[in-house]
Subunit: 316 residues, 2 copies
Amino acid sequence: MNAGPDLHAIREAHRRIAPHVHRTPVLTSASLDERAGARLFFKCENLQRTGSFKMRGATNAVFSLSDAEAARGVLTHSSGNHAAAIALAARRRGIPAWIVMPSNAPRTKRRAVEDYGGRVSECEPNLASREAVAAALQKKTGARMIHPYNDDAVIAGQATAALELLEEIPDLDLIVAPLSGGGLLSGTAIAARSLKPGIRVIGAEPANADDAYRSLAAGRLEPAATTETIADGLRATLCPLTFAILRDRNVQVALVAEDEILPAMRFIWERLKLVIEPSSAVAVVPALENKLNAAGQKVGIILSGGNLDLGKLPFA
Amino acid sequence: MNAGPDLHAIREAHRRIAPHVHRTPVLTSASLDERAGARLFFKCENLQRTGSFKMRGATNAVFSLSDAEAARGVLTHSSGNHAAAIALAARRRGIPAWIVMPSNAPRTKRRAVEDYGGRVSECEPNLASREAVAAALQKKTGARMIHPYNDDAVIAGQATAALELLEEIPDLDLIVAPLSGGGLLSGTAIAARSLKPGIRVIGAEPANADDAYRSLAAGRLEPAATTETIADGLRATLCPLTFAILRDRNVQVALVAEDEILPAMRFIWERLKLVIEPSSAVAVVPALENKLNAAGQKVGIILSGGNLDLGKLPFA
Protein backbone atom coordinates (compact mmCIF):
# COMPACT_ATOMS: atom_id res chain seq x y z
CA MET A 1 0.00 0.00 0.00
CA ASN A 2 2.76 2.43 0.90
CA ALA A 3 3.86 4.81 -1.82
CA GLY A 4 7.47 5.24 -2.85
CA PRO A 5 10.45 2.91 -3.18
CA ASP A 6 10.96 0.09 -0.70
CA LEU A 7 14.07 -1.00 1.17
CA HIS A 8 15.03 -3.36 -1.63
CA ALA A 9 14.99 -0.51 -4.14
CA ILE A 10 17.06 1.58 -1.75
CA ARG A 11 19.67 -1.15 -1.42
CA GLU A 12 19.74 -1.51 -5.19
CA ALA A 13 20.23 2.24 -5.47
CA HIS A 14 23.07 2.07 -2.98
CA ARG A 15 24.88 -0.54 -5.06
CA ARG A 16 24.17 1.36 -8.27
CA ILE A 17 25.53 4.70 -7.11
CA ALA A 18 28.46 3.45 -5.02
CA PRO A 19 31.07 3.94 -7.78
CA HIS A 20 29.93 7.50 -8.37
CA VAL A 21 29.33 9.07 -4.96
CA HIS A 22 31.31 9.48 -1.76
CA ARG A 23 30.52 7.44 1.29
CA THR A 24 30.44 10.51 3.50
CA PRO A 25 31.76 10.46 7.05
CA VAL A 26 29.66 10.57 10.21
CA LEU A 27 31.10 13.11 12.63
CA THR A 28 30.53 13.78 16.30
CA SER A 29 31.40 16.60 18.67
CA ALA A 30 31.55 16.48 22.45
CA SER A 31 30.79 20.19 22.73
CA LEU A 32 27.71 19.90 20.52
CA ASP A 33 26.52 16.91 22.50
CA GLU A 34 26.90 18.90 25.67
CA ARG A 35 24.86 21.77 24.32
CA ALA A 36 22.14 19.48 22.94
CA GLY A 37 21.98 17.16 25.94
CA ALA A 38 21.97 14.26 23.50
CA ARG A 39 24.45 12.32 21.37
CA LEU A 40 24.50 13.76 17.88
CA PHE A 41 25.75 11.97 14.76
CA PHE A 42 26.16 14.16 11.72
CA LYS A 43 25.95 12.54 8.30
CA CYS A 44 28.05 14.91 6.22
CA GLU A 45 26.38 15.21 2.83
CA ASN A 46 27.95 18.64 2.50
CA LEU A 47 31.07 16.57 1.77
CA GLN A 48 29.23 14.68 -0.96
CA ARG A 49 30.16 15.18 -4.62
CA THR A 50 28.66 18.44 -5.96
CA GLY A 51 28.37 19.52 -2.32
CA SER A 52 24.99 17.98 -1.50
CA PHE A 53 22.98 14.77 -1.08
CA LYS A 54 21.29 15.55 -4.41
CA MET A 55 24.10 13.66 -6.10
CA ARG A 56 22.70 10.42 -4.68
CA GLY A 57 19.22 10.73 -6.15
CA ALA A 58 20.40 12.22 -9.43
CA THR A 59 22.93 9.43 -9.89
CA ASN A 60 20.41 6.73 -9.14
CA ALA A 61 17.90 8.23 -11.58
CA VAL A 62 20.45 8.70 -14.36
CA PHE A 63 21.99 5.26 -13.97
CA SER A 64 18.57 3.57 -13.74
CA LEU A 65 17.76 4.55 -17.32
CA SER A 66 18.07 1.96 -20.05
CA ASP A 67 20.81 2.59 -22.57
CA ALA A 68 18.22 3.65 -25.14
CA GLU A 69 16.57 6.11 -22.77
CA ALA A 70 19.89 7.41 -21.55
CA ALA A 71 21.14 8.07 -25.06
CA ARG A 72 18.60 10.87 -25.44
CA GLY A 73 19.91 12.62 -22.35
CA VAL A 74 18.26 14.03 -19.28
CA LEU A 75 16.56 17.30 -18.47
CA THR A 76 15.58 19.19 -15.35
CA HIS A 77 14.66 22.66 -14.22
CA SER A 78 16.38 23.82 -11.10
CA SER A 79 18.76 26.55 -10.12
CA GLY A 80 20.13 24.68 -7.16
CA ASN A 81 21.88 21.56 -5.99
CA HIS A 82 19.74 19.16 -8.03
CA ALA A 83 20.83 20.85 -11.24
CA ALA A 84 24.52 20.44 -10.47
CA ALA A 85 23.95 16.84 -9.43
CA ILE A 86 22.08 15.97 -12.63
CA ALA A 87 24.82 17.59 -14.70
CA LEU A 88 27.58 15.58 -13.01
CA ALA A 89 25.63 12.32 -12.96
CA ALA A 90 24.95 12.69 -16.69
CA ARG A 91 28.59 13.46 -17.40
CA ARG A 92 29.60 10.33 -15.51
CA ARG A 93 27.23 8.32 -17.66
CA GLY A 94 28.44 10.09 -20.78
CA ILE A 95 25.08 11.55 -21.78
CA PRO A 96 23.88 15.12 -22.22
CA ALA A 97 22.03 17.03 -19.49
CA TRP A 98 19.88 20.05 -20.22
CA ILE A 99 19.22 22.34 -17.29
CA VAL A 100 16.52 25.00 -17.49
CA MET A 101 17.51 27.90 -15.25
CA PRO A 102 15.90 31.30 -14.76
CA SER A 103 17.77 34.19 -16.32
CA ASN A 104 18.26 35.72 -12.87
CA ALA A 105 19.88 32.65 -11.31
CA PRO A 106 23.10 33.47 -9.45
CA ARG A 107 26.16 33.27 -11.69
CA THR A 108 27.91 30.95 -9.26
CA LYS A 109 25.11 28.37 -9.53
CA ARG A 110 25.06 28.58 -13.29
CA ARG A 111 28.81 28.16 -13.43
CA ALA A 112 28.66 25.10 -11.16
CA VAL A 113 26.24 23.44 -13.59
CA GLU A 114 28.38 24.36 -16.57
CA ASP A 115 31.55 23.17 -14.84
CA TYR A 116 29.93 19.73 -14.58
CA GLY A 117 29.10 19.78 -18.27
CA GLY A 118 25.42 20.75 -18.01
CA ARG A 119 23.84 22.63 -20.93
CA VAL A 120 21.98 25.60 -19.52
CA SER A 121 18.80 26.85 -21.18
CA GLU A 122 17.57 30.15 -19.86
CA CYS A 123 13.92 30.81 -19.08
CA GLU A 124 12.12 33.80 -17.63
CA PRO A 125 11.97 33.70 -13.83
CA ASN A 126 8.41 32.39 -13.65
CA LEU A 127 6.73 29.00 -13.66
CA ALA A 128 5.03 29.35 -17.06
CA SER A 129 8.25 30.18 -18.88
CA ARG A 130 10.15 27.46 -17.05
CA GLU A 131 7.66 24.79 -18.03
CA ALA A 132 7.38 26.06 -21.60
CA VAL A 133 11.14 26.04 -22.11
CA ALA A 134 11.44 22.60 -20.54
CA ALA A 135 8.60 21.18 -22.65
CA ALA A 136 10.08 22.57 -25.85
CA LEU A 137 13.50 21.16 -24.98
CA GLN A 138 12.05 17.79 -24.17
CA LYS A 139 10.11 17.67 -27.41
CA LYS A 140 13.19 18.58 -29.38
CA THR A 141 15.62 16.22 -27.66
CA GLY A 142 13.54 13.38 -26.25
CA ALA A 143 15.49 13.81 -23.03
CA ARG A 144 14.10 12.27 -19.85
CA MET A 145 12.86 14.81 -17.31
CA ILE A 146 14.18 14.06 -13.84
CA HIS A 147 12.14 15.83 -11.21
CA PRO A 148 14.04 16.77 -8.03
CA TYR A 149 11.76 14.73 -5.75
CA ASN A 150 8.58 13.52 -7.47
CA ASP A 151 10.44 10.42 -8.61
CA ASP A 152 10.89 7.00 -7.01
CA ALA A 153 14.45 6.62 -8.29
CA VAL A 154 15.44 9.99 -6.89
CA ILE A 155 13.86 9.22 -3.53
CA ALA A 156 15.59 5.83 -3.39
CA GLY A 157 18.91 7.54 -4.05
CA GLN A 158 18.42 10.16 -1.35
CA ALA A 159 17.49 7.35 1.05
CA THR A 160 21.00 5.93 0.84
CA ALA A 161 22.34 8.65 3.13
CA ALA A 162 20.16 7.37 5.97
CA LEU A 163 20.99 3.79 5.01
CA GLU A 164 24.71 4.47 5.48
CA LEU A 165 24.14 6.43 8.67
CA LEU A 166 22.19 3.55 10.19
CA GLU A 167 24.78 1.04 9.04
CA GLU A 168 27.33 2.94 11.10
CA ILE A 169 25.12 3.88 14.06
CA PRO A 170 22.39 1.23 14.17
CA ASP A 171 20.94 2.28 17.51
CA LEU A 172 19.84 5.80 16.65
CA ASP A 173 16.69 6.85 18.48
CA LEU A 174 15.71 9.45 15.95
CA ILE A 175 16.88 11.01 12.74
CA VAL A 176 16.42 14.57 11.51
CA ALA A 177 16.60 15.78 7.91
CA PRO A 178 15.72 19.12 6.35
CA LEU A 179 12.32 19.28 4.70
CA SER A 180 11.55 21.03 1.44
CA GLY A 181 9.94 19.07 -1.41
CA GLY A 182 10.33 16.00 0.75
CA GLY A 183 12.63 13.83 -1.37
CA LEU A 184 15.39 13.47 1.20
CA LEU A 185 12.99 13.15 4.11
CA SER A 186 10.80 10.59 2.30
CA GLY A 187 13.82 8.44 1.50
CA THR A 188 15.09 8.86 5.03
CA ALA A 189 11.73 7.79 6.48
CA ILE A 190 11.47 4.71 4.28
CA ALA A 191 15.02 3.58 4.96
CA ALA A 192 14.97 4.31 8.68
CA ARG A 193 11.58 2.80 9.40
CA SER A 194 12.36 -0.27 7.32
CA LEU A 195 15.58 -0.87 9.23
CA LYS A 196 14.31 0.14 12.65
CA PRO A 197 10.52 0.36 12.90
CA GLY A 198 10.48 2.29 16.17
CA ILE A 199 12.83 5.07 15.10
CA ARG A 200 11.48 8.63 15.11
CA VAL A 201 11.87 10.54 11.86
CA ILE A 202 11.66 14.30 11.98
CA GLY A 203 11.68 16.87 9.22
CA ALA A 204 13.06 20.31 10.01
CA GLU A 205 11.24 22.99 8.08
CA PRO A 206 11.58 26.78 8.12
CA ALA A 207 8.53 28.34 9.73
CA ASN A 208 8.63 30.79 6.83
CA ALA A 209 8.09 27.96 4.32
CA ASP A 210 5.90 25.63 6.35
CA ASP A 211 3.70 24.01 3.69
CA ALA A 212 4.66 20.51 4.79
CA TYR A 213 3.87 21.20 8.43
CA ARG A 214 0.46 22.55 7.51
CA SER A 215 -0.20 19.83 4.95
CA LEU A 216 0.55 17.01 7.35
CA ALA A 217 -1.54 18.66 10.07
CA ALA A 218 -4.47 19.15 7.68
CA GLY A 219 -4.22 15.72 6.13
CA ARG A 220 -4.14 17.19 2.62
CA LEU A 221 -1.66 19.08 0.48
CA GLU A 222 -1.66 22.77 1.32
CA PRO A 223 0.02 25.37 -0.85
CA ALA A 224 2.95 27.39 0.45
CA ALA A 225 1.83 30.63 2.08
CA THR A 226 5.32 32.13 1.88
CA THR A 227 8.76 30.87 0.96
CA GLU A 228 10.72 33.81 2.29
CA THR A 229 13.52 31.99 4.05
CA ILE A 230 17.29 32.33 3.95
CA ALA A 231 17.36 28.54 3.61
CA ASP A 232 17.11 28.83 -0.15
CA GLY A 233 17.20 25.07 -0.65
CA LEU A 234 14.00 24.63 1.36
CA ARG A 235 11.54 26.70 -0.68
CA ALA A 236 9.99 23.80 -2.61
CA THR A 237 6.67 22.26 -1.61
CA LEU A 238 5.55 18.67 -1.13
CA CYS A 239 4.12 16.76 -4.07
CA PRO A 240 1.43 14.07 -3.71
CA LEU A 241 4.07 11.33 -3.67
CA THR A 242 6.22 12.77 -0.90
CA PHE A 243 3.16 13.90 1.05
CA ALA A 244 1.81 10.34 1.04
CA ILE A 245 5.13 8.87 2.13
CA LEU A 246 5.55 11.28 5.03
CA ARG A 247 1.92 10.94 6.11
CA ASP A 248 1.91 7.14 5.97
CA ARG A 249 5.04 6.94 8.10
CA ASN A 250 3.87 9.48 10.64
CA VAL A 251 6.87 11.73 10.10
CA GLN A 252 6.88 14.71 12.48
CA VAL A 253 7.81 18.25 11.50
CA ALA A 254 9.86 20.60 13.67
CA LEU A 255 9.47 24.23 12.64
CA VAL A 256 12.52 26.45 12.72
CA ALA A 257 12.32 30.21 13.17
CA GLU A 258 14.18 32.34 10.66
CA ASP A 259 16.43 33.89 13.28
CA GLU A 260 17.58 30.48 14.50
CA ILE A 261 19.11 29.43 11.19
CA LEU A 262 22.26 31.52 10.84
CA PRO A 263 23.39 31.13 14.47
CA ALA A 264 23.14 27.36 14.06
CA MET A 265 25.03 27.54 10.78
CA ARG A 266 27.81 29.56 12.35
CA PHE A 267 27.92 27.20 15.32
CA ILE A 268 28.49 24.23 12.99
CA TRP A 269 31.18 26.08 11.07
CA GLU A 270 32.92 26.96 14.33
CA ARG A 271 32.60 23.68 16.18
CA LEU A 272 32.44 21.02 13.47
CA LYS A 273 34.69 22.96 11.04
CA LEU A 274 32.25 22.16 8.26
CA VAL A 275 30.97 24.54 5.64
CA ILE A 276 27.23 23.95 5.57
CA GLU A 277 24.58 25.98 3.79
CA PRO A 278 21.60 27.53 5.60
CA SER A 279 19.30 24.65 4.57
CA SER A 280 21.54 22.22 6.46
CA ALA A 281 21.55 24.43 9.51
CA VAL A 282 17.76 24.14 9.65
CA ALA A 283 18.18 20.45 10.48
CA VAL A 284 20.56 21.27 13.30
CA VAL A 285 18.36 23.79 15.11
CA PRO A 286 15.87 21.38 16.74
CA ALA A 287 18.71 19.49 18.45
CA LEU A 288 20.66 22.59 19.46
CA GLU A 289 17.54 24.27 20.82
CA ASN A 290 16.42 21.16 22.73
CA LYS A 291 13.19 20.86 20.80
CA LEU A 292 13.41 17.14 20.05
CA ASN A 293 12.42 15.75 23.43
CA ALA A 294 15.45 13.51 23.06
CA ALA A 295 17.50 14.02 26.22
CA GLY A 296 20.30 11.48 26.39
CA GLN A 297 19.23 9.87 23.12
CA LYS A 298 21.19 9.16 19.95
CA VAL A 299 20.18 11.58 17.24
CA GLY A 300 21.20 11.34 13.59
CA ILE A 301 21.25 14.61 11.66
CA ILE A 302 21.71 14.80 7.91
CA LEU A 303 23.81 17.81 6.94
CA SER A 304 22.37 18.10 3.47
CA GLY A 305 24.75 20.42 1.67
CA GLY A 306 27.49 23.01 1.74
CA ASN A 307 26.93 25.20 -1.28
CA LEU A 308 26.82 28.91 -0.69
CA ASP A 309 28.60 31.99 -1.94
CA LEU A 310 31.62 32.61 0.26
CA GLY A 311 31.85 36.10 -1.21
CA LYS A 312 28.51 37.00 0.39
CA LEU A 313 28.62 35.41 3.80
CA PRO A 314 25.77 36.38 6.10
CA PHE A 315 28.17 36.82 8.99
CA ALA A 316 31.63 38.38 9.23
CA MET B 1 71.53 7.57 15.89
CA ASN B 2 68.37 9.30 14.73
CA ALA B 3 66.82 11.78 17.11
CA GLY B 4 63.18 11.65 18.11
CA PRO B 5 60.68 8.88 18.78
CA ASP B 6 60.72 5.71 16.70
CA LEU B 7 57.87 3.84 15.04
CA HIS B 8 57.34 1.76 18.14
CA ALA B 9 56.84 4.87 20.24
CA ILE B 10 54.43 6.22 17.63
CA ARG B 11 52.37 3.04 17.70
CA GLU B 12 52.32 3.20 21.49
CA ALA B 13 51.15 6.80 21.26
CA HIS B 14 48.41 5.79 18.87
CA ARG B 15 47.09 3.22 21.29
CA ARG B 16 47.41 5.62 24.22
CA ILE B 17 45.49 8.49 22.64
CA ALA B 18 42.84 6.46 20.79
CA PRO B 19 40.15 6.85 23.48
CA HIS B 20 40.64 10.61 23.58
CA VAL B 21 40.97 11.78 19.98
CA HIS B 22 38.99 11.41 16.77
CA ARG B 23 40.17 9.15 14.02
CA THR B 24 39.72 11.87 11.41
CA PRO B 25 38.47 11.10 7.90
CA VAL B 26 40.57 11.17 4.74
CA LEU B 27 38.72 13.11 2.02
CA THR B 28 39.22 13.36 -1.72
CA SER B 29 37.89 15.65 -4.43
CA ALA B 30 37.81 15.02 -8.15
CA SER B 31 37.90 18.73 -8.94
CA LEU B 32 40.94 19.27 -6.73
CA ASP B 33 42.68 16.29 -8.32
CA GLU B 34 41.99 17.77 -11.73
CA ARG B 35 43.47 21.10 -10.78
CA ALA B 36 46.52 19.52 -9.14
CA GLY B 37 47.12 16.90 -11.81
CA ALA B 38 47.60 14.38 -9.01
CA ARG B 39 45.51 12.32 -6.61
CA LEU B 40 45.16 14.19 -3.35
CA PHE B 41 44.22 12.62 -0.01
CA PHE B 42 43.38 15.10 2.73
CA LYS B 43 43.84 14.00 6.32
CA CYS B 44 41.33 16.23 8.10
CA GLU B 45 42.88 17.25 11.38
CA ASN B 46 40.72 20.37 11.30
CA LEU B 47 38.02 17.90 12.33
CA GLN B 48 40.13 16.73 15.27
CA ARG B 49 39.08 17.55 18.83
CA THR B 50 39.96 21.16 19.72
CA GLY B 51 40.09 21.80 15.96
CA SER B 52 43.69 20.79 15.30
CA PHE B 53 46.24 17.96 15.28
CA LYS B 54 47.74 19.44 18.44
CA MET B 55 45.28 17.32 20.42
CA ARG B 56 47.27 14.24 19.42
CA GLY B 57 50.62 15.36 20.79
CA ALA B 58 49.16 17.02 23.86
CA THR B 59 47.18 13.92 24.73
CA ASN B 60 50.16 11.63 24.32
CA ALA B 61 52.32 13.87 26.50
CA VAL B 62 49.70 14.25 29.22
CA PHE B 63 48.82 10.56 29.31
CA SER B 64 52.48 9.49 29.27
CA LEU B 65 53.07 11.07 32.68
CA SER B 66 53.20 8.85 35.73
CA ASP B 67 50.36 9.33 38.18
CA ALA B 68 52.69 11.14 40.56
CA GLU B 69 53.90 13.53 37.85
CA ALA B 70 50.41 14.05 36.51
CA ALA B 71 49.02 14.93 39.92
CA ARG B 72 51.02 18.15 39.89
CA GLY B 73 49.44 19.23 36.63
CA VAL B 74 50.87 20.48 33.36
CA LEU B 75 51.96 23.86 32.11
CA THR B 76 52.62 25.45 28.77
CA HIS B 77 52.91 28.83 27.16
CA SER B 78 51.03 29.27 23.94
CA SER B 79 48.22 31.37 22.64
CA GLY B 80 47.21 28.93 19.98
CA ASN B 81 46.08 25.42 19.25
CA HIS B 82 48.60 23.72 21.55
CA ALA B 83 47.18 25.61 24.52
CA ALA B 84 43.62 24.46 23.87
CA ALA B 85 44.84 20.91 23.32
CA ILE B 86 46.81 20.80 26.57
CA ALA B 87 43.81 22.17 28.44
CA LEU B 88 41.46 19.51 27.08
CA ALA B 89 43.96 16.66 27.43
CA ALA B 90 44.53 17.64 31.05
CA ARG B 91 40.82 17.83 31.72
CA ARG B 92 40.39 14.34 30.28
CA ARG B 93 43.07 13.11 32.64
CA GLY B 94 41.52 15.04 35.52
CA ILE B 95 44.56 17.18 36.27
CA PRO B 96 45.09 20.94 36.22
CA ALA B 97 46.59 22.76 33.23
CA TRP B 98 48.15 26.19 33.52
CA ILE B 99 48.45 28.15 30.32
CA VAL B 100 50.62 31.24 30.12
CA MET B 101 49.16 33.61 27.53
CA PRO B 102 50.15 37.14 26.58
CA SER B 103 47.76 39.83 27.76
CA ASN B 104 47.05 40.78 24.14
CA ALA B 105 46.00 37.29 23.02
CA PRO B 106 42.71 37.26 21.11
CA ARG B 107 39.71 36.83 23.40
CA THR B 108 38.44 33.90 21.31
CA LYS B 109 41.65 31.95 21.89
CA ARG B 110 41.63 32.66 25.58
CA ARG B 111 38.01 31.60 25.85
CA ALA B 112 38.72 28.35 24.00
CA VAL B 113 41.38 27.47 26.59
CA GLU B 114 39.08 28.39 29.45
CA ASP B 115 36.18 26.43 27.95
CA TYR B 116 38.38 23.34 28.11
CA GLY B 117 39.16 24.03 31.76
CA GLY B 118 42.60 25.59 31.33
CA ARG B 119 43.78 28.10 33.94
CA VAL B 120 45.12 31.14 32.12
CA SER B 121 48.00 33.15 33.58
CA GLU B 122 48.64 36.39 31.79
CA CYS B 123 52.10 37.61 30.86
CA GLU B 124 53.37 40.65 29.04
CA PRO B 125 53.58 40.07 25.29
CA ASN B 126 57.33 39.40 25.25
CA LEU B 127 59.59 36.39 25.69
CA ALA B 128 61.15 37.50 28.98
CA SER B 129 57.81 37.96 30.70
CA ARG B 130 56.45 34.72 29.28
CA GLU B 131 59.38 32.70 30.58
CA ALA B 132 59.38 34.47 33.94
CA VAL B 133 55.66 33.83 34.49
CA ALA B 134 56.01 30.22 33.40
CA ALA B 135 59.03 29.63 35.65
CA ALA B 136 57.27 31.15 38.64
CA LEU B 137 54.19 29.02 38.01
CA GLN B 138 56.24 25.90 37.64
CA LYS B 139 58.12 26.57 40.85
CA LYS B 140 54.91 27.16 42.72
CA THR B 141 52.96 24.18 41.36
CA GLY B 142 55.52 21.60 40.31
CA ALA B 143 53.57 21.25 37.06
CA ARG B 144 55.26 19.59 34.11
CA MET B 145 56.07 21.95 31.24
CA ILE B 146 54.93 20.51 27.91
CA HIS B 147 56.64 22.25 25.04
CA PRO B 148 54.62 22.40 21.80
CA TYR B 149 57.26 20.51 19.79
CA ASN B 150 60.58 20.15 21.58
CA ASP B 151 59.31 16.94 23.18
CA ASP B 152 59.49 13.31 22.04
CA ALA B 153 56.04 12.47 23.40
CA VAL B 154 54.46 15.41 21.58
CA ILE B 155 56.19 14.48 18.34
CA ALA B 156 55.09 10.85 18.66
CA GLY B 157 51.52 12.01 19.13
CA GLN B 158 51.56 14.30 16.10
CA ALA B 159 53.02 11.41 14.08
CA THR B 160 49.82 9.42 14.54
CA ALA B 161 48.02 11.54 11.93
CA ALA B 162 50.43 10.30 9.24
CA LEU B 163 50.24 6.80 10.68
CA GLU B 164 46.47 6.74 10.18
CA LEU B 165 46.73 8.33 6.76
CA LEU B 166 49.18 5.66 5.59
CA GLU B 167 47.06 2.91 7.11
CA GLU B 168 44.24 4.04 4.84
CA ILE B 169 46.28 4.96 1.76
CA PRO B 170 49.44 2.84 1.97
CA ASP B 171 50.72 3.68 -1.50
CA LEU B 172 51.17 7.42 -1.12
CA ASP B 173 54.10 8.76 -3.12
CA LEU B 174 54.55 11.81 -0.96
CA ILE B 175 53.10 13.54 2.03
CA VAL B 176 52.88 17.25 2.77
CA ALA B 177 52.45 18.88 6.15
CA PRO B 178 52.70 22.49 7.26
CA LEU B 179 56.02 23.48 8.83
CA SER B 180 56.43 25.76 11.82
CA GLY B 181 58.29 24.50 14.88
CA GLY B 182 58.49 21.15 13.15
CA GLY B 183 56.59 18.91 15.56
CA LEU B 184 53.98 17.74 13.10
CA LEU B 185 56.44 17.46 10.24
CA SER B 186 59.01 15.59 12.34
CA GLY B 187 56.42 13.08 13.44
CA THR B 188 55.13 12.78 9.90
CA ALA B 189 58.65 12.15 8.57
CA ILE B 190 59.44 9.48 11.16
CA ALA B 191 56.15 7.66 10.68
CA ALA B 192 56.12 7.89 6.90
CA ARG B 193 59.75 6.92 6.36
CA SER B 194 59.50 4.06 8.82
CA LEU B 195 56.45 2.64 7.07
CA LYS B 196 57.56 3.42 3.53
CA PRO B 197 61.26 4.27 3.22
CA GLY B 198 60.98 5.72 -0.29
CA ILE B 199 58.17 8.17 0.42
CA ARG B 200 58.87 11.85 -0.09
CA VAL B 201 58.10 14.08 2.88
CA ILE B 202 57.63 17.78 2.28
CA GLY B 203 57.10 20.64 4.66
CA ALA B 204 55.14 23.65 3.44
CA GLU B 205 56.45 26.85 4.97
CA PRO B 206 55.44 30.47 4.43
CA ALA B 207 58.18 32.32 2.59
CA ASN B 208 57.61 35.09 5.14
CA ALA B 209 58.62 32.74 7.98
CA ASP B 210 61.24 30.60 6.27
CA ASP B 211 63.63 29.77 9.09
CA ALA B 212 63.32 26.03 8.47
CA TYR B 213 64.02 26.37 4.76
CA ARG B 214 67.12 28.42 5.45
CA SER B 215 68.23 26.23 8.35
CA LEU B 216 68.03 23.02 6.36
CA ALA B 217 69.82 24.66 3.42
CA ALA B 218 72.59 25.95 5.66
CA GLY B 219 72.93 22.75 7.69
CA ARG B 220 72.55 24.66 10.95
CA LEU B 221 69.75 26.34 12.85
CA GLU B 222 69.11 29.82 11.53
CA PRO B 223 66.97 32.36 13.35
CA ALA B 224 63.73 33.63 11.84
CA ALA B 225 64.27 36.76 9.78
CA THR B 226 60.58 37.63 9.82
CA THR B 227 57.40 35.92 10.93
CA GLU B 228 54.96 38.27 9.26
CA THR B 229 52.55 35.75 7.80
CA ILE B 230 48.79 35.44 7.90
CA ALA B 231 49.37 31.77 8.74
CA ASP B 232 49.53 32.58 12.42
CA GLY B 233 50.11 28.96 13.40
CA LEU B 234 53.36 28.84 11.44
CA ARG B 235 55.39 31.56 13.14
CA ALA B 236 57.40 29.28 15.43
CA THR B 237 60.95 28.22 14.61
CA LEU B 238 62.71 24.86 14.60
CA CYS B 239 64.41 23.65 17.74
CA PRO B 240 67.55 21.47 17.72
CA LEU B 241 65.44 18.32 18.07
CA THR B 242 63.09 18.96 15.16
CA PHE B 243 65.93 20.35 13.04
CA ALA B 244 67.89 17.13 13.50
CA ILE B 245 64.89 14.95 12.66
CA LEU B 246 64.09 16.86 9.47
CA ARG B 247 67.73 17.02 8.41
CA ASP B 248 68.43 13.35 9.05
CA ARG B 249 65.40 12.31 7.00
CA ASN B 250 66.14 14.66 4.14
CA VAL B 251 62.78 16.39 4.40
CA GLN B 252 62.26 18.96 1.66
CA VAL B 253 60.71 22.38 2.16
CA ALA B 254 58.29 24.03 -0.27
CA LEU B 255 58.03 27.76 0.27
CA VAL B 256 54.63 29.38 -0.08
CA ALA B 257 54.15 33.02 -1.01
CA GLU B 258 51.93 35.09 1.21
CA ASP B 259 49.45 35.85 -1.56
CA GLU B 260 48.95 32.17 -2.30
CA ILE B 261 47.59 31.32 1.14
CA LEU B 262 44.11 32.84 1.24
CA PRO B 263 43.11 31.78 -2.29
CA ALA B 264 44.02 28.20 -1.38
CA MET B 265 42.10 28.48 1.86
CA ARG B 266 39.02 29.74 0.07
CA PHE B 267 39.36 27.01 -2.55
CA ILE B 268 39.31 24.33 0.15
CA TRP B 269 36.31 25.92 1.84
CA GLU B 270 34.47 26.04 -1.49
CA ARG B 271 35.41 22.65 -2.88
CA LEU B 272 36.01 20.45 0.15
CA LYS B 273 33.41 22.27 2.33
CA LEU B 274 35.92 22.27 5.15
CA VAL B 275 36.73 25.18 7.42
CA ILE B 276 40.51 25.28 7.54
CA GLU B 277 42.74 27.96 8.99
CA PRO B 278 45.41 29.75 6.95
CA SER B 279 48.16 27.49 8.33
CA SER B 280 46.43 24.48 6.81
CA ALA B 281 46.06 26.23 3.49
CA VAL B 282 49.84 26.60 3.34
CA ALA B 283 50.10 22.81 3.02
CA VAL B 284 47.64 22.82 0.12
CA VAL B 285 49.39 25.43 -2.01
CA PRO B 286 52.29 23.30 -3.33
CA ALA B 287 49.85 20.74 -4.75
CA LEU B 288 47.40 23.28 -6.14
CA GLU B 289 50.17 25.28 -7.74
CA ASN B 290 51.85 22.20 -9.21
CA LYS B 291 55.07 22.75 -7.30
CA LEU B 292 55.48 19.18 -6.08
CA ASN B 293 56.75 17.55 -9.26
CA ALA B 294 54.17 14.86 -8.57
CA ALA B 295 52.11 14.59 -11.74
CA GLY B 296 49.80 11.58 -11.50
CA GLN B 297 51.12 10.64 -8.08
CA LYS B 298 49.29 10.03 -4.83
CA VAL B 299 49.80 12.93 -2.47
CA GLY B 300 48.80 12.97 1.19
CA ILE B 301 48.14 16.42 2.66
CA ILE B 302 47.62 17.02 6.35
CA LEU B 303 45.00 19.71 6.95
CA SER B 304 46.32 20.71 10.31
CA GLY B 305 43.54 22.79 11.83
CA GLY B 306 40.38 24.81 11.46
CA ASN B 307 40.52 27.45 14.15
CA LEU B 308 39.97 31.02 13.08
CA ASP B 309 37.66 33.88 13.93
CA LEU B 310 34.59 33.66 11.70
CA GLY B 311 33.74 37.21 12.69
CA LYS B 312 36.88 38.47 10.95
CA LEU B 313 37.09 36.45 7.78
CA PRO B 314 39.74 37.58 5.33
CA PHE B 315 37.31 37.21 2.44
CA ALA B 316 33.64 38.10 2.05
